[in-house]
Every structure is written in structure tokens, then in C-alpha cells.
């Protein structure tokens, strides 16, 4: 068995001349000792680690994640209505260990692209041949005056599932009947584009049953949003949207929804034309790539990580691949399924690159469900291919799109069961 890594191997045997032979070696030794370090244990990182080991069991794959368990953001809005427990969103890393992934619970504090080394808060360091960075999003805390990271303990964002999800759920459930929940929705691009509107729907579903005089107001930095037609249709059917009694009010930027200042003491959001007083306030700040991507110099001036769309290798630093929400992978939306799909493309590319081969042609998919009421769900789907000349991910012509408007109730009901299948399978596919 080889125990030397590829670079040592090349040194020992006389450098690049041997690369051709490596390609032709029996599979038992293919990639032996080559190291991949994965930073982040969310849907991107976990899936990448698993698929690297599935594609080449000789690779030495280490996944580093700060938490003992990952808490899934997807379907966390169901916790707010009481339809789902926070525990059901938690997933551990034992499944990955069964695939031979080395799991390290620690926080990554640095990635040295020149030395090909990852360092952690706990003082550990890990050499790599290739590194995958999948840190998700971080928040732009200076985006709205009056709202700080410290404030988010009580005026939650709940945009990373965890204690804040529980806090927001408790606040909504403790609110008096007749109260107002205000959700501040961010500018594009951000994690889970339909998420704020699904959140409003899930909260309205709870209020309709338990506190029917209450309201949900969405203050938006935008004039449009994902699946808007479907949401408006659902709100009209379920929550009286468009009538004076509507349980949900959406205030677009054009109508004064862009919040300019927040007073967390009085739970008041000031817009250009109107002040909005909340009983429960939820602020989803504008976003950028996760902290470690910023620290490692992987971001551009917009705050996201530019990548080669064929391999997800950073265009800022070689041998580092950025996937999921942190990457600039437009036109794919920032969703868990996008991260899952990109993880597989990056894993396949890394296996090829480490074997000295040209990465194969990628294929990408996104599917994303929104559950807006009992037995009422809808979806968006996309099949994507690479435009290599433009380094662009493009939708395959004629494919994808939304659940049609005016879909029959039995199909909306089926979409809820498919959403729950999506949830179970994406967790199993990523972590088990």
C-alpha cells in the first residue's frame, strides 16, 4: 500500500514524468494518500465528503465542522408553526464516518492556499491536495442601522436553524391574539429565495388556527420574489390576501417596504413612508459568503466566491473549491439542493483532477419546495448545464420552472408529501 501522498510520490519517482503512469495504475492504488479537506458539514460539505469517498475509496477525506450536529435550515419554517420539531432538523456525522470520512469537530480559522493547509481554533492543522469550502452564508450586520448581531438574540434572524428558530417559535406562540409579526426580507442574493414568504405562510397557518385576529407583515427590500405568483395565489385562498381582513400583508420596496432603521427596544421598523410596529420582529439581514471564505480571501467585491463553474475551483486561489450558498453559482439559486448537486460536481472534478485527468462534463439540478398551508405545497425545479466559454451555469432550454398556477388541490397536497420525501432523501444522501 502507498502511504506517501501524491506530492511525495512524485518527488520520489522523479516528478511529472510519472503522471501518465499514475493514470494507468490499478484502482487499488488510485489516489492513495491524496488528501481532501472539507470545511463545513452542511448539505454541500457533507455530500461532497461522502461522494468523494464513494468515487474513490483511496482518498483521505477529512470533514471539519464546528457543531456536533448540523441543524438543517430547510423545512425549519415548519418549526415556527409547530408542525415539526427542531430535533427533527438535526443530523450527526456517524453516517459519514461509515463512508470512511474523518470527521473533526472544530472551527476552521484559516486556510493557507500557498501552503495548502487548514488551521483550526483548537490548534490543529490539516494539509490538503484539494480543499472544499462550504461555509454557507454570513450576514451583513451593517445593512440596517439599529440592528446588530447582539440584537439577534431577541430580535431573531432565525436564518440559520438553531436556538433562534426556537426563540422565534416561542415568541410567535406567546404573542397575544391581535398582534403583528413583522418579517424583514433581504435584498438579493440570499439563502433560500422563497424562504421569507414560506415563513410568513407557516406563521399565518399557526395564527389562523390559534390567534385569528393577528397579522403577518413582510417588509421587503425588493419588488419581486421567488414563486411570487404561487404565494399570492395561496395567500388569497388560505389567508384572505387582497381583502382588508387579510392575515398577510406584503409591502414591496416600491410601496415603502425597504426598512431604513430599526428600533429594537420598541420593535419598530422605519420605512421611507411608514413606521411599522411589531409584537414579534424577525429580521433577515442581507447576506454574503460565510466567514471563513472572507478570511481566506475567496470572495469578490460583492461578498461571494467566484468559481470555475465546471469544477467549483476558486478563481482567487487554486486547489480550493467553493460550493453551496457561498459560491457565486448563478443562475442556480442558493438552496440545499443546489449545494447537494454542486457538491457532486465538485467531488467528481476533484477525483479527476487528482488522477491527472480532465474533469468530465458537469450536470446540475435544483429542486426546492415551499409548504404554505395544510396539504398545500409547491415547487421549483431546474436542470442546468455548463456554458464553458462564458463560465456560466445555464438552464437547459425547455426544462424546469414552477408548479403551474391553478394547480389542482390533490397535486398541491402531493407536493407536500414530495417535500417531506425531498427532506428525508437529501439528508440521507448527504449524511448517511
Amino acid at each position: 500500500m502507498f502511504t506517501v501522498n501524491r506530492r511525495d510520490f512524485l518527488k520520489l519517482t522523479g516528478g511529472a514524468a510519472v503522471v501518465g503512469s499514475v493514470v494507468g495504475m490499478p484502482s487499488i492504488a488510485r489516489g492513495a494518500g491524496q488528501k481532501v479537506v472539507v470545511v463545513g458539514g452542511g448539505p454541500g460539505g457533507a455530500t461532497a465528503a461522502k461522494y468523494l469517498r464513494m468515487a474513490n475509496p483511496n482518498l483521505d477525506v477529512t470533514l471539519i465542522e464546528a457543531g456536533q450536529k448540523y441543524v438543517c435550515c430547510f423545512l425549519s419554517n415548519e418549526v415556527l408553526s409547530g408542525e415539526r420539531t427542531l430535533e427533527s432538523l438535526q443530523v450527526g456525522f456517524d453516517g459519514l464516518k461509515k463512508h470512511g470520512v474523518k470527521v473533526v469537530i472544530d472551527s476552521v480559522v484559516g486556510i493557507d492556499a500557498a501552503a495548502k493547509k487548514v488551521t483550526t481554533k483548537g490548534g490543529q492543522s490539516f494539509d490538503y491536495d484539494r480543499c472544499i469550502v462550504s461555509p454557507g452564508v454570513d450576514f451583513k450586520w451593517d445593512a440596517i442601522p439599529g440592528y446588530t448581531e447582539a440584537d439577534s438574540e431577541t430580535v431573531t434572524h432565525a436564518w440559520k436553524a438553531g436556538p433562534q428558530t426556537t426563540t422565534l417559535q416561542k415568541q410567535v406562540h406567546a404573542m397575544k391574539d391581535g398582534g403583528t409579526v413583522v418579517i424583514v426580507a433581504p435584498a438579493n442574493p440570499f439563502r433560500c429565495p422563497p424562504g421569507p414568504y414560506e415563513r410568513a405562510s407557516q406563521i399565518a397557518m399557526y395564527l389562523k388556527k390559534n390567534k385569528p385576529k393577528s397579522k403577518v407583515v413582510i417588509l421587503d427590500a425588493k419588488d419581486d420574489f421567488a414563486k411570487k405568483g404561487l404565494f399570492i395565489q395561496a395567500w388569497t385562498k388560505l389567508y384572505g390576501y387582497g381583502t382588508p381582513e387579510s392575515m398577510i400583508r406584503w409591502v414591496s420596496a416600491a410601496d415603502g417596504g425597504k426598512v431604513e432603521k430599526i428600533d429594537v427596544k420598541t420593535l419598530t421598523c422605519s420605512g421611507p413612508t411608514e413606521d411599522f410596529k411589531a409584537d414579534v420582529l424577525n429580521v433577515i439581514p442581507a447576506q454574503k459568503a460565510g466567514h471563513i471564505a472572507q478570511v481566506a480571501g475567496l470572495v469578490d467585491e460583492k461578498g461571494w466566491c467566484p468559481v470555475n463553474k465546471k469544477t467549483f475551483e476558486s478563481t482567487k486561489h487554486p486547489n480550493i473549491h467553493v460550493i453551496g450558498d457561498a459560491s457565486d453559482a448563478a443562475t442556480m439559486p442558493k438552496s440545499a439542493y443546489s449545494a447537494n448537486s454542486q457538491a457532486k460536481v465538485a467531488a467528481a472534478a476533484i477525483v479527476d483532477l487528482l488522477a491527472g485527468k480532465t474533469p468530465s462534463t458537469p450536470s446540475y439540478v435544483n429542486t426546492c419546495y415551499s409548504i404554505v398551508g395544510h396539504d398545500y405545497g409547491f415547487s421549483v425545479a431546474g436542470v442546468y448545464k455548463l456554458d464553458e466559454a462564458k463560465n456560466s451555469i445555464v438552464s437547459v432550454e425547455g426544462s424546469g420552472g414552477l408548479t403551474p398556477m391553478d394547480t389542482a388541490p390533490e397535486n398541491l397536497k402531493r407536493e407536500v408529501t414530495y417535500a417531506h420525501s425531498w427532506f428525508d432523501n437529501i439528508i440521507s444522501d448527504g449524511w448517511m
Binding site: A16, A17, V19, G20, V23, K50, Y51, A55, Y337, N340, S341, K344, V345, A348, G356, K357, T358, S360, T361, P362, S363, Y364, V365, T367, S379, A381, G382, V383, Y384, K385, L386, E388, V396, G398, S399, G400, G401, T403, E410, N411, R414, E415, T417, Y418, H420, S421, W422, D424, N425, I426, S428, D429, M432
Partner: protein
């Protein structure tokens, strides 16, 4: 030596790419195409449920038939027509061959009612087993029914009953008799029979 390596890689691309290479980018590998399905249908097509069907181990013919029907919107679906339209006939065939090679795993721990399953077994033997052989465990022209996820089977039977999902003439003949003589309870019994298979 470096040139030699490049030529080897180039030749590899030509061989793998086949006809598609001549049109531009080489074809995506079967695994690349198929792995993108796994977020909903499970790793290697083994779904953990509750309503997305397991597609591991189904015949290439059935996979191609189903995906083509979705692509042409000849079968009802919520999301599958939107997805199937993203793939060429060659890509569908490549995915079919990938999934046909994967090991089918029966859905674990389904709550099948024993009495209904027994009634379903009788109906299956009388009306279905001629084509869905081995208690619905085979996949020649059809999908694997034994051990399939019960909500999926229910949806499929509802769509056959409503006429939204077309049936081959021989199937329709048998199916209509089941519905006429055994009503919804008959279809439910079949679901419990297939769902009870390990």
C-alpha cells in the same frame, strides 16, 4: 512527456464522449447525470421515502419509458415533467443503464396491514402477476412494486383509476376488473400487499 499526457487525456475524452463530442462538449457521465437525482430519489436511487419511489434496479426499458412519458407530458406529474425535459434521449438512456445496475432495497418498516396485504396478494395473483412477476419484484416492462413506497403506489393507482396515467391495453383490461369488482378497497389491498414485501 507532458504532451503525451495531454494526448492520453484527449483520447480519453474522445472515447468517452462518443457522438456527443462531435457536437461540442463531451457527454456527462452516467454517474454525473444520475447522482443529481439522488437528493429526491436517494443515493443510487434507493429512496428513504415516504413518497418518492425507489428507482434503483428498475429495467432500462421501464426507466426510458417513464422518463420519455414525463418529458412529453404524457404522464401526469407534479415535478417530473419539468425535470425530464432537461435531458436528451441519450442522457435518459445513460441514467437508465446506471439505475438498472443499482441494487434495489425494499422500503423498510412500512405499516402494511396484514389482512389487507393478504387480500392484496390474492388480487395480485389473479390479475397482476402475469406481467408483474414474482409478486411484483421483477422489473421487465414495469416498475418494481414489491417493497415500493406505499404513498407512491397509492398515487400511481389513483392516476390509473382516474385515467390520467395511460395503461397498456392488457393492463387496463385487468385493472378495470379489479376496480369494478373490488372498488377502492381492492386497490388499497394491492398497495398493502406490495408494501408488506421485504
Amino acid at each position: 512527456m507532458r504532451n503525451k499526457t495531454s494526448i492520453m487525456v484527449l483520447l480519453g475524452g474522445l472515447v468517452l464522449g462518443g457522438n456527443a463530442w462531435a457536437q461540442g462538449a463531451p457527454a456527462a457521465t452516467p454517474a454525473m447525470l444520475a447522482n443529481a437525482c439522488a437528493g429526491c430519489h436517494g443515493t443510487n436511487g434507493v429512496s428513504v421515502g415516504p413518497s418518492s419511489p425507489t428507482i434503483a434496479g428498475i429495467s432500462t426499458e421501464y426507466f426510458v419509458t417513464v422518463m420519455t412519458a414525463y418529458k412529453k407530458a404524457e404522464w401526469p406529474s407534479t415535478i417530473m415533467t419539468r425535470i425530464a425535459k432537461g435531458y436528451s434521449d441519450d442522457e435518459i438512456k445513460a441514467m437508465a443503464e446506471f439505475f438498472a445496475k443499482q441494487k434495489y432495497v425494499a422500503a423498510p418498516n412500512q405499516k402494511a396491514d396484514a389482512a389487507k396485504a393478504k387480500a392484496g396478494e390474492k388480487l395480485h395473483k389473479e390479475f397482476c402477476d402475469k406481467c408483474h412477476e414474482k409478486g411484483g419484484a421483477s422489473s421487465d416492462d414495469g416498475g418494481i412494486l414489491a417493497g415500493q413506497w406505499m404513498p407512491y403506489l397509492t398515487f400511481a393507482l389513483e392516476d390509473y383509476e382516474s385515467g390520467k396515467r395511460p395503461q397498456p391495453p392488457k393492463m387496463k383490461k385487468e385493472f378495470d376488473v379489479v376496480v369494478q369488482n373490488h372498488k377502492k378497497e381492492g386497490l388499497e389491498a394491492l398497495v398493502h400487499f406490495y408494501g408488506s414485501a421485504k
